[in-house]
Amino acid sequence: MRVMAEEILRIENLHVSVEGTLILKGVNLTIHRGEIHAIMGRNGAGKSTLANVVMGHPAYVITEGSIFYKGQPLEELAVFERARAGMFLSFQYPAVIPGVQVGTFLKKSVTSVRDEAPKGRAFRKELTSAMEQLSMDKSFLSRYVNDGFSGGEKKRLEILQMLLLKPHLALLDETDSGLDIDALRIVAKGINEVAVDSACLIITHYQRLLDLVKPDYVHAMINGTIVQTGGPELALELEDRGYDWLDVTA
């Protein structure tokens, strides 16, 4: 039974606007440790906004409602504090950081989040094993962060970071987009590994990732609210029927 598991994320009546436009209009969602939730919806439904506002993107303004992480109101935490408290966002479009090598970036990031520099040899071992798992060549480490990366390479680097940072809450924003089936399998394996002991929120358009990462709950989001919640079967139904049958405004 998972009912006794620790509450990681609780979102209450969340309203969020971007540049004055209201995007989220009363979202409620609770995720416990060990649970995988998927949010599905059309483009513009507010899925990415939800992931970004939880992580603390400054462009998203909460106009009403609250977010709690492990019972603590999130508004008190700066973005880097959220990361250090165990939150992680796998970006749909990760930023390019020219001139900064992946190896340097990973080491510094792990040092920041763990609040101590990882031991050289132990860290190299950890890194090598995570990269092997994701079928990433060592040469990745000397490339610049996301600079000239293909879509698939970017997503792999996101998952590599997730494996190293071992978050308690993983927000995965369209991690499956742009991946071929082999890459999708590799990425899914990484997500499944982290999901065992953390709360996981997967944002996606498509069913195909959910074949590989089994969600406990699937939520359909339309026009800034969650209109339907179900089990994995809801994802199949959405894939099959689309969203119109749930869209009261249509």
Binding site: M55, G56, H57, P58, A59, A78, V79, F80, R82, A83, R84, F88, L89, F91, Y93, P94, A95, V96, I97, P98, G99, V100, F105, K108, S109, S112, V113, Y144, V145, Q161, L165
Partner: protein, 468 residues
């Protein structure tokens, strides 16, 4: 260090100063007599005294440049500057013999340690003259000469007479005239034919006294087929009054020779840094200027290369960081005077907290020079809304076979980059530091590793408190 000094220093790590123990100190101010006195004190031959005096007269007549930062230039009070200050009677070859205060300063700057680990030779200049110089025995045995310029004048006057002022005549500009008139210290480096000096040699320039003028003069000659990497560093205490650093650096690369000259200039923000650097590259020779400008109040410096021989190559990689109250007016000049010569110029600048960085470049291809190629890339990064970046490129292309590329960009750090890094646990300052280090990476990767690490640390410190 006094409390007062501490207050002025702020974040600048090298702003400490020693008590002033000069053995000879000239009164402030400049006159023909001061120029003659410097020459006499150094026991120079008459020809050098004559050049100095001519240069002084030219300096007096020459008007201040009417470009660059005229407001700041016109605030220089030449009468308040000390033109010569000797703090140690001898240039020592063992650190043990250097006066304690001075030795401690260079220890704090990490020079003796670096010397032991990875340098082929060192000269350490303190105020007007070198207090220490050394060269590895194996290099000396190969005929490499690495001396401070004053010792060079005594031991090799005929070589210096042949080359002094041939690349940069005193009449080149007002500050080359000033330097020629009152020069003291600097490096004299000669690499014999065919010798490759594997370990870099380094000169370090330290100003300690208030209102000091430092006018080192450097001459580097790489004979046919030889190669060398010369590194210079510079720092000064932070004072509320201005100091002036005005160097002249002449490089000569004979046929097939290669000179790399790397600078990390980190003067305190009360120093005017007005330097003329120029190189001549003969047939198939290579000149590389790797020029980093982090400190100073106003820097005006445009490392230049005269590509005189066919097949010669120039490489100028420069970075400038302009923080609060700083103007970095830097760039590069390359003259393609012979056929099939090539050049590559990369300039990167960052402006922050109202700082201003300017790129000023000149690319010339003479009518008779065919088949020349040049690529220029200028990137500016502006970190806030009230800092400034300008570009003043000039091209004089006299031959239609030239193949030229010029790219320029001005960018800001995006909020997406910051958010991405912060979501990975970086504070806003640390994120900014990482982005800035990445931006300068094409420069830092060319430096010896020890310098690169130091520079990265320096920039990270500069980014602290950068975002309000």
């Amino acid at each position: 260090m006094t409390d007062e000094a501490q207050d002025v220093i702020g974040d600048y790590r090298y702003g400490f100063h020693d008590p002033e123990n000069s053995t000879i100190r000239f009164d402030q101010g400049l006159s023909e007599q001061v120029v003659r006195d410097i020459s006499e004190l150094k026991n120079e031959p008459e020809w050098m005294t004559d050049i100095r005096v001519k240069a002084y007269r030219h300096f007096v007549e020459r008007v201040m440049p009417e470009w660059g930062n005229c407001d700041l230039l016109n605030k220089i009070d030449f009468e308040s500057i000390t033109y010569f200050l000797r703090s140690s009677n001898k240039t020592e070859t063992s650190w043990d013999d250097v006066p304690d205060d001075i030795k401690n300063t260079f220890n704090r700057l990490g020079i003796p340690e670096a010397e032991q680990k990875w340098l082929g030779g060192v000269t350490a200049q303190y105020e007007s003259e070198a207090v220490y110089h050394s060269i590895r025995e194996d290099l000396e045995e190969q005929g490499v000469i690495f001396l401070d310029m004053d010792t060079g004048m005594k031991q090799f006057p005929e070589i210096i007479k042949k080359y002094f002022g041939t690349v940069i005549p005193y009449s080149d500009n007002k500050f080359s005239a000033l330097n020629t008139a009152v020069w003291s210290g600097g490096s004299f480096l000669y690499i014999p034919k065919g010798i490759s000096v594997e370990m870099p040699v380094q000169a370090y320039f330290r100003i300690n006294a208030k209102n000091m003028g430092q006018f080192e003069r450097t001459l580097i000659i790489a004979d046919e087929g030889s190669s060398v990497h010369y590194v210079e560093g510079c720092t000064a205490p932070s004072y509320s009054t201005d100091s002036l650093h005005s160097a002249v650096v002449e490089l000569i690369a004979m046929e097939g020779a290669k000179i790399r000259y790397s600078t990390v200039q980190n003067w305190s923000s009360n120093v005017y840094n007005l330097v003329t650097k120029r190189a001549v590259a003969h047939k198939n020779a290579t000149i590389e200027w790797v020029d980093g400008n982090i400190g100073s109040k106003l820097t005006m410096k445009y490392p230049s290369v005269l590509l005189k021989g066919e097949g010669a190559h120039a490489e100028v990689i420069s970075v400038a960081y302009a923080g609060e109250g700083q103007h970095q007016d830097t760039g590069a000049k390359v003259h393609h005077l012979a056929s099939n010569t090539t050049s590559n110029i990369i300039s990167k600048s960052i402006s922050k907290k109202g700082g201003r960085s300017s790129y000023r470049g000149l690319l010339q291809v003479t009518p008779k020079s065919t088949g020349c190629r040049s690529k220029i890339v200028c990137d500016a990064l502006i970190l806030d809304d009230y800092s400034r970046s300008d570009t003043y490129p000039t091209m004089e292309i006299g031959n239609s076979t030239a193949d030229l590329e010029h790219e320029a960009s001005v960018s800001k750090v995006s909020s997406d980059q910051l958010f991405y890094l912060m979501s990975r646990g970086f504070t806003e300052d640390a994120a900014m530091g990482l982005i800035v280090n990445g931006f300068f990476e094409p420069f830092t990767r060319e430096l010896p590793m020890e310098y690169a690490l130091e520079l990265n640390k320096l920039l990270e410190l500069e980014m602290e408190g950068s975002i309000g």
